[in-house]
Amino acid sequence: MQRIINFILHYRTTFLYGFLLLVSLIFTIRSHSYHQSKYFNSSRWISGSIYNTTSGITSYFNLSKENKRLSDENEKLRSLLFNMAEDTALAPYQRTDFDVIQAKITKNSYASPRNYITINKGETDGLAQDMGVITSKGILGIVENTSNNYATVQSILNTKSNINAKIKHTNYFGSLIWDAKRYDVVQLTDIPRLVPVHVGDTIVTGAMSSIFPENIPIGVIKKYNLNEAQSFYNVDIQLFNDMANLKQVYVIKNRNRTEILELEKRTNDAQ
């Protein structure tokens, strides 16, 4: 017994090291296996409020660019509005499936293989996990964690990200992933060989997910080649968004999401 105690005392640093490593390993595995950790992330109030303060200072540097972007978007929306057929504009009641909530990015990251973005809206503004996030130019990511006033967004530049996407004006869809190599290029996989693919084709979100509405722009095809099995294309997509320079984002809330999920769950359970 004496010897065991002596042994432990002699190697106490090693034991402490092993213990601390184990704790961090558990944290990592838990955050890798499904979602990012619920308690330790940058949407918590201390990190959230520090990021909010600094972004309040730095946001002034890009004001003119941001202004230009917003007025460009307004111009596009105006032209859409003026060219709309009159009867749809004056429809007596409209069924709206999606709510839009605007938010600002307080922390952006694009250099690591798993990037998360922090935004300054949280549960009090109606945000919840698995809502889509877009900018005026295109898709950005999915809300992963929320606190009262902040939320973290899993960027499309994240190796865990997997989003349904399709070639515009067709119904050929695949999944959008990222190979962690370049911050302006993402990959679309599972496009069958038979599909006519051309460089320059636009890629938009597909209708298969209840997170994003259909036809939100993602990017254009940069290059493509067949995968090892020669049956599917691996397509490189040049993003519309400049992921290094983002400020204003929109969070999309699908009102029917709970209903869709419930229905899907019931169907799966019945099988």
């Binding site: 402490l16 090291y17 704790v23 961090s24 990592t28 992330n41 990021y51 922390k107 990251s109 293989p113």
Partner: protein, 169 residues
């Protein structure tokens, strides 16, 4: 006030965490180089440390940075390991002198100190980026990240350490 080692360490801890998460994490030099300057903490920490306390402080340092960077426990693992192997690196750099009771940074040469700093950085970056990518298919990317980031971190750390040179240690 700053002559008290505990306050000095706490001061460095907070400043390094803030510098790392607010400044250097967003540097994105060449779009992927974000130097991990908090390695300086391990360079500056007193030599005659209580190893258990040092391990715990390193754990907290890593956790604080992870919390801000949304990289849960990657920095923590790298930090704890670095704290554990620091005596080995020190013995390697300062040789037999290190075992004498009156050894301080002052009576080591500049080359020795910079070797020590460089080894700390290499170990830290290799650990962190391997854990971050965690796949062999990105080997080239991993090596590229380790080399470029280590070099930039080394340059910045040398500048910072000479800027805040320790006078009375």
């Amino acid at each position: 006030m700053l002559s008290n080692p505990i306050i000095l360490t706490a001061f460095r801890f907070i400043l390094l965490v803030l510098a790392q998460v607010l400044l250097f994490n967003h540097l994105n030099f060449l779009n992927f180089v974000n130097p991990l300057v908090y390695v300086l903490f391990f360079y500056w920490y007193p030599i005659r440390e209580n190893r258990a306390v040092f391990l715990l402080i390193s754990f907290l340092l890593g956790l604080a940075i992870d919390l801000f960077s949304d990289t849960l426990a990657l920095h923590t693992m790298a930090c704890v390991t670095l704290a554990y192997v620091r005596p080995i690196i020190m013995r390697f750099c300062f040789g037999a002198n290190f075992d004498f009771q009156n050894f301080t940074f002052k009576n080591s040469t500049r080359v020795q100190r910079f070797t020590f700093l460089f080894l700390l950085i290499i170990v830290q970056h290799t650990l962190y980026y391997s854990l971050e990518i965690l796949s062999l298919s990105h080997f080239i990317l991993l090596v590229k990240k380790i080399i470029f980031t280590s070099l930039l971190t080394f340059v910045i750390c040398v500048l910072l350490s000479s800027l805040f040179a320790i006078e009375n240690e």
